[in-house]
Symmetry: C2
Subunit: 370 residues, 2 copies
């Protein structure tokens, strides 16, 4: 369509109470956007957005929670489709915060300063300046993750939960007993951070087997077009057709002396080594599930080993790898519980994917949110 | 060919000094066989073997080292091709040790008791009884790995070496200062064992991302027929075409605040998530190298985290994943050195793949080898 179709003029009703300040976390795979509207109405996310809100937003997630005197909204985009993000910002005139909005994505003047974190705050600074006339005020990625997690864990009810054997349970954490904890953020790669207090933290480890690995390997192996398709596929899979289990090696027996049951995965993808079966005999579903278990379990194990180093009992997992997917969470919980013999606990966050973006937003420090 | 062709009659010259006792480690992917000949001649491995030794033995490795009054020989087979192993044993009449050999793979009587370890000691006991008339005396896999490693490290010169940035250096270890150490055996899966002394050890961890994972995933991704083909392929690869580097996320910059340089892998296979490039645009070579780095680095990292737990400075890697491959060893060494800030050291073993089989052999305890 024409430029006008794709960037429809937006008249913001009631500019006074309906301000749209925003912050960005530009990761390797996904851009996360958090914006705030003073408008307290539940439909605020759509206020003035016209066609944007009614159109099907695949690849985006729109959730919101109320804060003092307003609402925070959460949206995500694929980093490779950065133009969708720019369009969204224009369509809502988010970049005109504090300025007069004219029309067609134009503000009365340029020069808004936007809090941005993640590698893209460096990589895409020029693009945002060029297309929207905004300047990035860069915030450290780890600091933002921690600030976002601390805020969620302290201020939001029903944020943290456990997920074991298909059972989800919300956990209310006493803000006075929050620290220390381990924060594991699973983006394209994984960062593992020991959090000791507000602004007090240390990135103690990480792994390059993360969400990008699941997605990239999954795409190569299943030809799926996106992350969620691979995840869907995995739900119909049986990983034991692909994985070599302890029982496959031990003739159906447990290796009980070292605590491995016959059904434990001895070697992910280990069954595929045999050339007795044609490669086409392995289904995409089984492969997707094996991959999901491999990555989830490995992250859980490395997280546990780091928690152990510092005697931490609580491990919070964030990042868009999780996507509220029950099997992913169960696998990570199992890993933590297996290796720690029940001593440590895996917990998840409802706003898992937006820790960094939220942290960047909070760094404006003008909303009295913290 | 006929049965006679495939199992040629073997006359063992000089039965008295040319005895062939053997032991097996039957793993998920590979069967490792160690046999001993009193014959001290370097050509002992071929003595009496007739056509077996002159034929091209792809998939087998034949190395040997002298021991007191004899020689140990090392051979491996793919577990899925167990009949090759049975044939080899017959061709050398190894199963007739202590019995009279008649011909065509037949001994004067049945009933040899063979030391066997690994899961196949359970899974394939019936096959060996049926085909060769031998009974397995099962030895614990972890115990055998440790016994094999201890023997090699104490008794064999030029066994252990470091491998960093392409540079190999043999390390002579004082037998009185050997313990404690961490043993990481990379078979189909990985076992991580803390070794405190002769027969004193504990399996402290493991990971299901092991040699079988490299082989299985590698086969699915590259369609190679075997492990070594994938490894060869990787030598022509450039993983940065497939992996998402820190610099790819951070616009070419380091993320120096947390010690990550632009060239660090942020996410293995993370570049493949973008659907801008067609899947056929990723080469098998690049994929093979990315996979090799992913698995090697991950094992190195998990090994390091376990060494740290127990304050161990020396980590020995064994198992047939390594295959003396320089890049594999460099990657693992880098992981250990990076995470430990140079405190811990990765070491490799010349007889890497035969620790378990050697340990099983030593459990006969009749050779005065220990
Ligand atoms: C470099 C990163 C912090 C970037 O964050 P991301 O865009 O993946 O969310 C992250 O990918 C990471 O921590 N990678 C792991 C690197 C490592 O410690 O091995
Ligand atoms: C079960 C095994 C001991 C079998 O040995 P293998 O045949 O792989 O050499 C090994 O595959 C293993 O340790 N797997 C890892 C299981 C885990 O700890 O996650």
């Amino acid at each position: 369509g024409s430029t006008e179709d794709r960037n429809p003029a937006i008249v913001l009703p009631n500019q006074e109470d309906d301000t749209y300040q925003f912050a960005l976390d530009l990761g390797g795979s996904l851009i996360k956007l958090v914006y705030f509207s003073k408008h307290s109405d539940a439909s605020a996310a759509c206020a003035g957005a016209g066609p944007t809100c009614s159109r099907s937003d695949s690849g985006r997630q729109l959730t919101r929670f109320p804060t003092h005197g307003g609402r925070l909204h959460f949206v995500k985009f694929e980093t490779s489709k950065i133009s969708d993000c720019l369009e969204f910002i224009k369509s809502k005139a988010l970049h005109c915060y504090g300025l007069k909005y004219i029309s067609n994505g134009m503000c009365s003047e340029e020069g808004s300063i936007i809090k941005a974190t993640g590698g893209g705050a460096f990589k895409f600074a020029d693009v945002f300046r060029e297309k929207l006339g905004v300047t990035f005020d860069k915030e450290d990625e780890m600091g933002c993750l921690v600030a976002g997690a601390n805020f969620l864990l302290k201020a939001i009810r029903h944020e943290a939960f456990t997920h074991l054997e298909g059972h989800k349970e919300f956990v209310q954490i006493d803000p006075n007993e929050l620290f220390p904890y381990l924060l594991v953020n699973i983006g394209s790669g994984v960062s593992i951070i020991k959090v000791d207090g507000e602004g007090q933290f240390q990135r103690v480890s990480g792994t390059n087997l993360g969400g990008g690995t699941f997605w990239g390997l999954g795409r190569l192996l299943t030809k799926c077009r996106n992350f969620d398709e691979i995840l869907d596929l995995s739900q119909k899979g049986d990983n034991s057709a692909v994985d070599m289990l302890v029982g496959d090696i031990y003739g159906g027996l447990d290796y009980s002396k070292i605590g491995l049951s016959a059904s434990t995965i001895a070697s992910s993808f280990g069954k595929v080594i045999s050339d007795e079966k044609d490669l086409s005999g392995y289904t995409r579903e089984d492969i997707a599930l094996s991959l999901l278990r491999m990555i989830s379990y490995n992250i859980g194990q490395i997280a546990y080993l780091n928690a152990l180093r510092y005697g931490l009992k609580r491990i919070f997992f964030g990042g868009f790898f999780i996507r509220g997917h029950a099997y992913t969470m169960d696998t990570m919980s199992f890993a933590i519980s297996f290796w720690s013999k029940g001593e440590a606990q895996a917990m998840f966050l409802r706003h898992e994917g937006f820790l960094g973006a939220l942290g960047a937003f909070l760094s404006y420090d003008k909303h009295g949110l913290t």
